[in-house]
Amino acid sequence: MTEHTVRSFSQDLEELSGDLARMGGLAEDMLSDAIQAIAQRDLALAETVVARDPQIDQIQVEVEKKILRLLALRQPLARDLRQTISALKIATELERIGDLGKSIAKRVKLIDGIEPVNALKGVARMGRLVTAQLKRVLDAYTALETDAANRVWVRDEEVDEHYQSLFREVVTYMIEDPRTISACAHLLFVAKNLERIGDHCTNIAEEIHFLVTGEQLPVERPKVDALNSH
């Protein structure tokens, strides 16, 4: 796409994309570190994740200021307008992902007593899937590729299925050995956080689709209904 005649306008938009890339990178690292910290009961690593969350919040605040300024001073239209509005929404999604990563990391300290090794492995597996989804959607945003974004959108069904089966698995561990209930309860919360991160990834995918095409993806995202799966 050609540059704006007023080049500082193009620079403003590039700066915005750069900020979102930084947020995305932070969120990715926080998430993969949080999952590793849970899987390996690494308290020190968990604490670094919690300490990084204010950074991502700070960028979101800056992004919102820049967007307000852009809207007031540049009156962006068409694609520029969609890009600006999408940036606002994606920044919010990434900030939430950061929060959820922090929440996961905080549970490392809280998990005490006996935890079943297999449950940890299950959570780690789901964690890797969600981390991959996040990476794919962020790459799709950088490249502005709707096909890649749509694939992330569709694959969220896999994330939901992982969550359902992990839920069932962890419940059986709790039944088998009540000493694991406390730890397993925390792991269920972690799994739920991962499932929510998956949802945020599909929201980002929807924003990418809207930015590029000007149209919305269907309202109903593919979802696995917990009540229907036995």
Partner: protein, 276 residues
């Protein structure tokens, strides 16, 4: 009515009679394959555009793109330019404006025009509005003339500001007021269509806002076509926007779509400031 009237369906007998319904639900103005030549130079290439009634159509595009040329073709103002030739068809209520039986003077009463520089006559405010009414014989008495002048000034949002000085010169008004006076003058002769060529370019933001508010109110009763350099203005006042470039009509669409998701990349480049 003493004048020959080739478009009887467009005329009202008095200012208070109800307007007959149009013959069909087609657009008020239909341009079909309109081209305009100044001597050998072609300024407009094959433009087809429907302009609906009770609605505002904005024409946008860079300088020299042909939008004003197109506007002037609708009420045959191009007739006044030597060596200017118009081909194609422009219909108002299904009638070709270039038909031999059409009186261009009458046409220009029915299709009012407002220009960038307000051009009140060197007469009083009252006379500015009354002049055209007298010329076309629309009022049957002095009282009715006064009624029409007042009604037009009210519709143009100017009455309260000038009611106590109707004999003052039109030129004594501010730029924004002069422009509204010109609009009152245009609507006094009962047009169905109002053409505006950058009506706010010479006005300050407050006067601009008043004229835009007036356009918003007028669209309930008139077909309005406005040429504007300001994309923001086109976005604010119009329901349909047409983008011209180098004499061609590139894209037309609902204003909302043109400014959020235009289909043509040249349209997008123009409205986002990526041209050149």
């Amino acid at each position: 009515m003493s004048r020959m009237d080739p478009m009887p369906s467009l005329r009202m007998d008095t200012a208070t009679a109800t307007r007959p319904a149009p013959a069909s639900t087609d657009a008020k103005i239909k341009a079909q394959a309109v081209s305009v030549f100044y001597g050998d130079k072609q300024a407009l290439f094959d433009v087809s555009l429907d302009m609906p009634e009770k609605s505002v159509t904005a024409l946008i595009g860079p300088s020299g793109c042909g939008k004003s040329t197109f506007l002037r073709s609708i009420n045959r103002m191009n007739d006044t330019i030597p060596n200017c030739r118009v081909t194609g068809r422009i219909e108002i209520d299904g009638m070709d404006v270039n038909d031999k039986s059409v009186d261009p003077v009458l046409l220009r009463a029915q299709v009012g025009m407002v220009f960038q520089k307000p051009n009140p006559f060197p007469k009083s405010i009252f006379e500015n509005v009354a002049y055209g009414v007298r010329l076309h014989g629309t009022a049957s008495s002095r009282d009715q003339l006064r009624e029409i002048v007042e009604a037009s000034l009210r519709k143009a949002g100017l009455w309260d500001e000038v009611k106590d000085r109707l004999n003052a010169s039109g030129a004594s008004l501010s730029g924004g007021q002069q422009q509204r006076l010109v609009i009152a003058r245009a609507i006094a002769v009962n047009p169905e269509i109002i053409l505006m060529d950058e009506p706010c370019s010479a006005l300050d933001p407050i006067a601009t806002a008043k004229v835009e508010e007036l356009i918003d109110e007028l669209k309930a009763n008139y077909c309005i076509v406005i040429v504007t350099h300001s994309m923001a203005q086109a976005a604010r006042v119009s329901q349909q926007t047409a983008f011209f470039h180098l004499g061609k009509l590139i894209e037309t669409g609902p204003t909302e779509s043109i400014f959020t998701n235009p289909k043509n990349s040249r349209t997008q480049d123009y409205i986002t400031g990526r041209f050149g």
